[in-house]
């Protein structure tokens, strides 16, 4: 490998502490060519001011759950690795779309490659486990090497560095509101019923510094998107719960998102010039509606725009006339006409989409611009390969943007599908937004071979909350109910366990050297 002279297999025995993040238990490392081993127990690990291996451009770190390795470096105050390969991610990539008999953990990977599982079956809590861990990882690395696309594996590792930073940063929460919500949740569900019952505020992990932290679960979906659990992660929970997001005093947060990302990806990758031109108008759905409007005097321009939006987005997911009709609440005949019109307007896109499907079933595999692959079998729903390029390349774009933004000093609190939630002191917020927009433009330009996607920005300044317009009415109702419950509950006078006027700095929790969980109950 160009420029890499040492390959170190690393195991920290990391554990996820809810609301806090990854915490190391010990360290076991092995250099693969010299077979030099280094072992540090818990005490020695926290006493070490630097890692017992190089982290520069000439060293490659190999591990399992790469973001946890980086998080351990962050919590120990160690320099971050320049090159990292996560065998979990690479295994998921190689076996993506196929049945994994023993799952996609270390044991699953070891079994997949025909190795003995005994070394991998351990609790990962003791130094003995650590030694077995690196032995299993070493064997796995050698077994995977012939199939590894190392440069792109390292690019995926680069994202895990960003992901670890993001997980450690967390999302600022209105802890007073959160505590009240948690305290009165049963009453609220009883009062409001099914409109809120799908949410589980008590499952959200909030640290005592008032920040929500949940595993991003990078590369967990078939398309390689992050797939955080909906119970534990605020960004995957019902949208109205995001109203709990509130910047700390003197700070602001901003949501920077790509405008019409999936439409733009489809336009750029298919090379459909009309689709590209429509994207560049700023509102492709309106452009479609205006061209089509002459024939449909029965529908207003806005209605037609919404119908075309549903159509254009649905088409990327392989929607049919009946489903589209239900979605736009119009007869199936009209939905069929919209779909026909889309096919007429964007013939090159459709040829490309047909080619994607043909390629997928012919070769049995599809891949993104940076080699995230998926197996396609006769059992695969044909809609999946057609949609895969938009989703997988959207994920590539988001990962690059996260890397660029964090490497340029932006505090990213969370990625969310096609958006980044960032945070900065109020006086620096505009600059942070500008840097983030530049990162996102560059990422889209690289993924789409010179076609940058537009971004839009929503800023929230202390003491405002995260906006979620769709849940305005619901949130007002919850707010009223909370006020009423708080008024009738004498206990509301006491400080909520999470509520601190001046949250302690994150380092007090993440750098907790006693290894104790410091999450808010």
């Amino acid at each position: 490998m160009v420029g890499i002279s040492e390959i170190w297999v690393v195991s920290f025995g990391p554990k996820w502490a809810p609301g806090i993040g990854w915490k190391p238990s010990f360290l076991t490392v092995r250099e693969l060519s010299s077979r030099r081993n280094v072992t540090l127990d818990h005490v020695a690990l926290f006493a070490a001011s630097r890692p017992p291996y190089p982290t520069g451009e000439d060293a490659l770190l190999v591990g399992f759950v790469g973001e946890a390795i980086v998080a351990c470096h962050l919590s120990l105050g160690w320099p971050l690795p320049s090159h990292l390969v996560d065998l979990r991610v690479e295994f998921r990539n190689l076996a993506n779309g196929q049945t994994k008999p023993c799952g996609d953990g270390l044991v699953g990977a070891v079994v997949w490659f025909g190795l003995h599982a005994s070394e991998a079956i351990c609790s990962r809590r003791t130094l003995v486990d650590g030694d077995r861990d690196v032995t299993a990882l070493e064997q796995l690395f050698h077994a995977m090497c012939p199939e590894l696309d190392l440069p792109r594996a390292i690019l995926r590792g680069r994202y895990l560095v960003a992901a670890a930073r993001i997980e450690a940063t967390g999302i600022p929460i209105d802890v007073v509101k959160y505590s009240a919500l948690k305290r009165h949740w049963r009453n609220i569900v009883r009062t409001m019923g099914t409109s809120v019952s799908d949410a589980k505020p008590s499952s959200l992990a909030i640290g005592r510094d008032g920040r929500h932290r949940a595993p991003l679960c990078p590369f967990a979906s078939r398309t390689s998107r992050n797939q955080p659990g909906s119970a534990a992660s605020l960004m995957a929970a019902p949208g109205w719960l995001r109203r709990l997001i509130k910047p700390d005093a003197g700070k602001g947060v901003a949501i920077v998102d790509w405008a019409q990302q999936e439409f733009g990806i489809a336009a750029a990758l298919s090379g459909d010039q009309r689709m590209i031109a429509d994207y560049r108008t700023g509102d492709p759905y309106l452009a479609l509606a205006e061209r089509y409007g002459g024939d449909t005097a029965l529908l207003s321009r806005d209605t037609l725009r919404d119908a075309f939006k549903a159509c254009a987005l649905g088409v990327l997911n392989g929607i049919g006339a009946s489903a589209l009709a239900r979605q736009i609440n119009r007869p199936a005949s009209e939905a069929r006409l919209l779909l026909q019109e889309h096919r007429s307007e964007y013939p090159r896109f459709w040829r490309w989409s047909d080619n994607v499907e043909s390629h997928a079933f012919l070769h049995g595999r599809l891949q993104s611009v940076f080699g995230w692959g998926v197996a396609v079998t006769a059992d695969t729903n044909p809609r999946f390969p057609r949609n895969f390029p938009m989703q997988a390349n959207g994920a590539e774009m988001l990962r690059l943007a996260c890397s660029f933004a964090t490497e340029n000093g932006v505090t990213v609190c969370a990625p969310n599908h096609d958006a980044l939630l960032i945070e900065a002191p109020l006086e620096d917020l505009a600059d942070a937004v500008k840097t983030t927009e530049a990162a996102m433009a560059e990422a889209s330009e690289i993924v789409l071979d010179g076609f940058p996607l537009r971004t839009s920005v929503t800023t929230i300044r202390y003491p405002d909350h995260y906006p979620h317009p769709k849940s305005d009415a619901l949130w007002s109702e919850i707010d009223r109910a909370l006020t009423a419950f708080e008024g009738s509950d004498p206990a509301h006078q006491r400080d909520a366990p999470c509520a601190r006027a001046h949250p302690r700095p994150i380092s007090l929790y993440v750098l907790n050297r006693k290894g104790q969980s410091d999450a808010c109950d």
């Binding site: 009309r274 090159r348 940076f370 690289i446």
Partner: protein
């Protein structure tokens, strides 16, 4: 697997092997190389009133034929020229135009030719006019009952040129009339018309 795009030239010679710009893979999916669409169905019908169509401008891509239409079954049969004299009044002389819709559907559009007296009604005259215009423009033909003829609408905007299948007209005929070609007086359709069963 897809091809790797050639990495961009790096003037300063400081080439980072992990630069994402160098690692990008093509998403062209072997356009037009792996598979080609096989034309298996060619409808024989006039274009729907909502359909914009183009007509193939090559004279070799049209043919004057005799067609036998069974209205009840909505089926059109191509009749061997040798049988025309044997079937007076049963067949109709028509031009079959090769046409294509904006959705890429190839069809054979039959338009009636003048009868033995040389007369042609306004419906068919306007349809031929529509086909003529369709050689260079996207057109839509819609029946105008009070007028007794087709209205012809030309697309005003700039639309991409149609992509025609690389097939001779004979092949389109073969596909379009696969099992609807009458080449003998013993053909079941003719026997039924004669009341033999």
């Amino acid at each position: 697997m897809n091809d790797t795009i050639d990495p961009p030239d790096d003037d300063d010679g400081d080439k980072n092997p992990f630069d994402p710009r160098r690692l990008r893979l093509s998403q062209r999916f072997s356009e037009g190389m792996d598979v080609r669409r096989i034309l298996t169905t060619v409808p024989v019908r006039k274009p729907h009133r909502q359909e914009f169509i183009r007509v193939h401008p090559d004279p070799a891509m049209r043919l004057d034929v005799a067609l036998l239409e069974l209205k009840e079954e909505r089926q059109t049969y191509l009749v061997d020229p040798m049988l025309w004299p044997e079937l007076p009044g049963e067949t109709a002389p028509k031009t079959l135009y090769a046409a294509i819709t904006r959705q890429g559907v190839v069809l054979l559009w039959p338009v009636r030719l003048p009868d033995e007296t040389g007369r042609l009604d306004d419906w068919n005259t306007s349809a031929h006019e529509g086909a003529k215009r369709g050689e260079t423009q996207w057109v839509r033909v819609a029946a105008n009952m009070p007028l007794g003829a087709y209205d012809i609408f030309e697309a005003v905007g700039q639309f991409p040129e149609p992509v025609w299948p690389e097939l001779p007209f004979e092949r389109l005929l073969e596909i379009g009339f696969r099992d609807r070609f009458i080449d003998s007086l013993d053909h079941p359709v003719l026997r039924r018309l004669r009341g033999e069963f």
